[in-house]
Symmetry: D2
Subunit: 482 residues, 4 copies
């Protein structure tokens, strides 16, 4: 039965022997670590919703390999309808978790590889696609979380991999033998890394022949010896270590990123999906990027939470009927739905690749992601406007409990008489969480840089624009002869 329950997912993680470091110490049990656990719970939500009938259509799909019902996060898109559902699934989960649920990056890696392994085989008579399909079957049947690992540390940005002072600035093959290959390097900013069963590695840029050793893609169990995880810290992360929960804002879920080091790790051949195929590295990057830019559909769901919180705080503050508040709420919705249009349109306009996999329309996926680098910041600004200054001057949860201060805080932070002061505090903390705290990391900075920084999208927009068509349209209308 390919659909795991959230409980089974949690147990499956416990079985892993990951080498994880955080705050200068090794973390023996990431699943129960208070900093990491909320991010695991967010991934678990992708399992939970897949069990619920009302979300079946969005959260599950039929495997094109064997027709079994699978979690959509392990599915290869077979139609534009699939692509549209992917966008809707992202929004849904963003709305349910209020943060990054970390599982889309693996889905995007699988789909990109399903296209590119096929394309390589067609041109080079290799067998990557077969290997990949076997691997995919394993992932689908076991309902696994895959970390799609692309971003190398990159060292000196003006220099290609083979000219770097430290050749490991980009991950590369250091040995090849009968069993497989040995790789060295690191992948940065890995979302949900320690909540994953598998890591799928891909190159991060187009590569020339001199960089052949860097043109490598493969998958490994996340607890393969030699893989080391160093957790990144987030704004307000240690509030999770405090006694209460109110100050967390989002008391249930979170995200995480890690640096993943590959300290001469062996990959068996059946897990190698691209080996020294530098002429296909760029293609893999572009397909993954296009899919992953679509994936920022999730921020629409997080935006729903922030808009909902802003509606609530306006009611709790007693300002909901002010025309300027209403107008700001409309503007937030307008921007959020404009984002929604982007992730729907790039899906609708998708097309099948030779492998049969449907890919989003690349120009529109880039346009969508470009807007994601802008609108959440403005939505967050408006949320702070509506929230009021109390959002950043609220005393701690402990002050709300301590006898010496409780009475004053309850008395003076009462606004709308029908609303308990505690509820007002909770919503303010949620808005803080989304605009300054742990969730701001995902809603703002990750919206900026995830799936490529803004300039990467602009380069693609320029490349995918049909400039000649536009110039010819203009020439015709003003009477310029060709």
């Amino acid at each position: 039965m390919p659909l795991m329950t959230p409980e089974q997912y949690e147990e499956s993680l416990r079985a892993l022997k990951l080498e994880v470091y955080m705050f200068g110490k090794q973390v023996s049990n990431p699943v129960d670590d208070p900093i990491i656990r909320p991010s695991m719970k967010a991934v678990a939500k992708t399992y939970e919703l897949a069990q619920r009938p009302e979300y079946e259509e969005i959260m599950t799909a039929r495997s094109h390999l064997n027709g079994q019902q699978i979690n959509r996060f392990t599915h290869i898109h077979q139609s534009t309808a699939d692509l549209v559902k992917k966008s809707k699934m992202g929004r849904l989960l963003g709305q349910k978790t209020g943060c990054c649920f970390q599982r889309c990056v693996g889905m995007d890696a699988l789909n990109a590889l399903s296209i590119v392994t096929y394309n390589i085989d067609q041109e080079k008579n290799t067998t990557y696609h077969k290997r990949f399909c076997n691997y995919l079957k394993y992932v689908q049947e076991n309902d696994l979380v895959c970390d799609g690992a692309m971003t190398d540390p990159k060292g000196d940005r003006s220099v290609p991999p083979h000219l770097q002072t430290d050749p490991d600035a980009f991950l590369h093959v250091v040995e090849e033998n009968e069993k497989g290959i040995v790789v060295r390097g690191a992948k940065a900013h890995q979302t949900g890394a320690v909540n994953s069963h598998e890591i799928i590695v891909m190159p991060t840029i187009a590569l020339k022949p001199e960089d052949k050793d860097y043109a490598v893609s493969f998958a490994l169990p996340s607890d393969t010896p030699g893989i080391i995880y160093i957790m990144g810290r987030q704004s307000c992360d240690t509030r999770k270590l405090e006694s209460g929960t109110v100050d967390l804002g989002n008391i249930l879920y979170g995200g995480h990123e890690a640096l993943v080091v590959f300290d001469d790790v062996t990959v068996p051949w059946e897990r190698v999906f691209m080996f020294r195929e530098n002429d296909f590295a760029g293609q893999l990057v572009e397909f993954f990027a296009a899919y992953h830019r679509q994936s920022y559909a999730c921020k629409v769901g997080v935006g729903d939470v922030l808009i909902g919180a802003s509606h609530l705080i306006s009611e709790y503050n007693g300002t909901a009927s002010a025309s300027h508040i209403k107008d700001k709420l409309i503007e937030m919705t307008h921007l959020n739905e404009t984002l929604y249009c982007g992730c729907i349109a790039c899906a609708t306009e998708g097309k099948p690749e030779p492998s049969g996999t449907y890919c989003v329309e690349t120009l529109l996926a880039n346009v969508h992601k470009q807007n994601v680098t802008r609108f959440p910041y403005e939505i967050a600004r408006l949320a702070q406007d509506i929230a009021g200054g109390l959002m950043v001057t609220l005393p701690s949860e402990e002050d709300f409990k301590a006898p010496a201060t409780q009475k004053w805080l309850e008395k003076y932070f009462q606004a709308n008489a029908k609303v308990p002061t505690q509820d007002r505090v909770r919503v303010l903390r949620l808005i803080e969480n989304l605009t300054l705290g742990t969730a701001a990391v995902g809603y703002l900075t990750e919206s900026m840089h995830g799936a490529g920084s803004p300039q990467a999208q602009r380069v693609m927009i320029a490349r995918r624009t049909n400039t000649d068509e536009k110039k010819n349209a203009a020439k015709k209308l003003c009477g310029i002869e060709k």
Copy 2:
């Protein structure tokens, strides 16, 4: 044969006996009037493209009434695919004409009526829908242009129709008899009015029982006695009367608007689609508005022309390789494609109404139109930035021809040596046309107010937002109990 050629269309207009006024005089032959003719040519383009095999899929459809191939502008949408094609048709024609081609408003009126006449009949046991279908068949079989006429002059905006000092500030029924009804009033800003065979009148606001007489919808041949057209003037309109063509910018096409007065005009019963059904007036307005907000897909096509012209002028000016120029062109494309996402997404997310007609998703259609009230202005600003100041200081075409000045102008307005000065002038004039001239009326001001002014969309966005869902998502995450 339901598809007319452009030539047949032009002839069919000549056969009409319209009462048209412009510049203080009656226009006996609008088809050949130099001010009006370019707008007729733009409508003719909707006939021309429907004849061309490469556009058949987008420009034509099969009538759901009889399966015949018809121009899509007379089609009732039978699927989301139809709605998507409608958006693509709008972009295509915007790109081909660089202006408003005027025919979508009738299509939107027909589709809105197909829904609402059905709904009234369902509730009230009337026969509006049958009447409407007969009329639709006539329109489809004769491939007619319909003007969808909604906007009343409105007089004092703080007062409903029946309380206006002048009861004619909104169009209304003044008499009812066996043959039909007699109506009085006017419709303002009627796009393409004198290029139309038919006028379909609808109320402009939701109406209360006191305003029953204003709740009327019907269709009339455009040359019905008592209908009077007074043409609006546009920025730079009289350049069409000058000897040359270069200064027009768009040397082929244009648009027009007119005030249409109904001076006690009789409508036969078979042409009456809503009669004193005030409780359905609001519904008709909303369906029409949603469709028509989608129709601003056309501005994406006009944006293509302006982006193309900006690419050209950067080449002709010799600035195409400057990084800030490239970046501005990317920004223009980004904004334009964001608009495209909107008109695609509201179509994709469309749903069938009880009559079977598919309607766009209303929230997204309003979001789309709201962006149309903003982005074309920024695209135009960037186009002016790229164009350079010469766009507004160029001497007239006659100076480029006169011996005393020609040599100086040719000499001093040469930039890129490979580009004739005349071509540079032509593109500059096109950008002037689109950002300040006759086409700016359509690309900017009509983008602002057509299909409802920005605030109308904001009201709808507020109304169509699922606020409770968002508030509940926020509550759950921060721990507020219901």
Copy 3:
């Protein structure tokens, strides 16, 4: 000797017996509390710079009472030159501290009171101004920090003070006797409260006769019995409790806000500057608001720090020569200097009030503050763009020190080979601090709400616009007769 050294200032604070609560406990020694101390150091900077000859002109002034050299923060503005220097002092200190230095609010309260006490006396033959001048002399001679306390908790925002369920939602007089008055209530969001020697209380809104008891202004030593301070918490506040300093970003300075409760506190008559003068409450609010909106000159200085950090990180990342990076840095500077123009212009256009005190031009001060509610957010967004995603995925300082992880972090977070990885980390942490951390509270949310939320400025802009002049100009040009 009116100019205290920073050391003397620190000692003077130690002498205070404040009742302060934080994280559920009473803080016996705020000066050395690790959370509070950085904010004290920021205030101390206002003393330090006043000692340095190169800043003498900006940081000090001559008292108009006795000609002695005083810290400008205790000065009553005697000219537009003084107002301009105030703006420059704000930018200077913002640049030196990278945060809120907390001392302007007292200066603004003193200046507003110097005007309004005079105006009341003129109309009512009272002696408030003399009392105020005596108090001012005391402040100047002892070089004190005053907290200007205006914002009441406000309870139900739709109801005036006397109709609130809890009459203490606004601070008010509860008793009047020979020695003075007794007051009850609270002031929220009090910047730098526990770093202050004095608290100057003012009403927060215009008041009607029914609200006479709320129309009260006075000054008290900050450790007057009955005054209770409850500290607000900030994003990332507890990083100050960690062992290292790097993760602080700003390793030197910070800000703080507190709720200040007045639990039936007695004010002697000589410290009362307004007593039940409801008809002057609005005036006091407006003068204070105008001054305090100018004070957001400080954010230009904080912006300088963020722009400097962004320049640095672009060099450390190796992206400084990319044209899009350069362009973003220009945009940040452009926005920041536009803010600077606002705080200079409202000072230059200032005018003397009857008391002789110069006040800023109110319309422009509001326009300035309105921009402060917008541009820092965009500057912060661009800083995050330039910084790269590493800003939010960096492991903790402890990981950089721990043997198991140090080598990997040093190896893989090296970019520009000439820059130590640690320096790159430090700048990233500073940008995190300013855009998500403790300083974001001041640079963003306080920019939004401090000195009045955006809508408050818009109301004032509407009120201070000479609409008639503009309408008449338009009428004349288009030929409308009066």
Copy 4:
């Protein structure tokens, strides 16, 4: 008597023998030409206001050469107060004319030359400054209008002057003799050229030794033989030839630009202010540019007119009390006053140059102009929003007069019953004029490109930013050792 009356000014122009071409024909009498006359009237306003006591302080100054009262447009700035008054004069005249009044460019050329001629003399022991002062005296005593001519046609933008295919793409010296020099070339976009008594020519870019012949500055009477004027056309220009005035929008004033050709024109030595001093060309360009960027203070005045017109139309439409309309009017004012802050701040922060002339602060002047390339477009967009679609669909003035149509138009375009329909039409035409018509050329496109296109300001902003100071501030706060 240095102050001419407007009547004297008009007569003085009649005395000139200019060679002017427009619409392919020579214009024998520009003063009375209906297209040109409104622009002459706008310049005349600078004479009229200088006669009125209430504007004496702003419009006039005392010559630093002889203490006589002179028109400020001929004044050399002697203080920051002078610079501030210059900004106020610009706003005042923009408000009074609603268009470009054309006289600031000459003032800016005079001031720039007063600095640079002095600087050259100091370094090279030349006598340019004396010549210049003699010339200045003549200008001041005769109260002349000078056209400051900088912008060359520029040909191929990637190539310096001496490498152009056509060496005349930049104006240059072709002969030198005892009497003076002979120059050849052209200046484009010359604002108010045919309303000027004098033309002051300056180079348009920094120049290298190879381009010495292009490093030339001089002044000539505008009717010197060999100078040829070819008028540029504007959007809606020919409405000035129609019988009525309403459709003009601005029924009184306008602007104009011309291409000015120098067909081997002789300049006597006493009129030569820079001759082959290529190392000072860049300096002259920068000083002129800084002054002229300040001069865009005028757009604040034009903005006042557009804001006034928008207030009026909201009243005439009956929408003035809608909260979104009020908010848009506030936003327009906010943006306009932000512009005002810029032109005031760069003046206030001005400093004296060695010659004694005060120059604006360059960084802020560039920041100001950069905002001018943005905000008027947004103000115009909001004006069109408030105006309503009728602005672009109004029939012509003749239709409002013709018996067949007048009754319908009067009836159906009545809104607010207290306002004559004609007044509503007039304001709509004024908004059309400012946002699409002749005045849009000045308010929008000229705001974009006048005094240098946006990118020119960005280059200067980058150059004038104290980046090191900012980087050091950041380093200190995050603990990076130098």
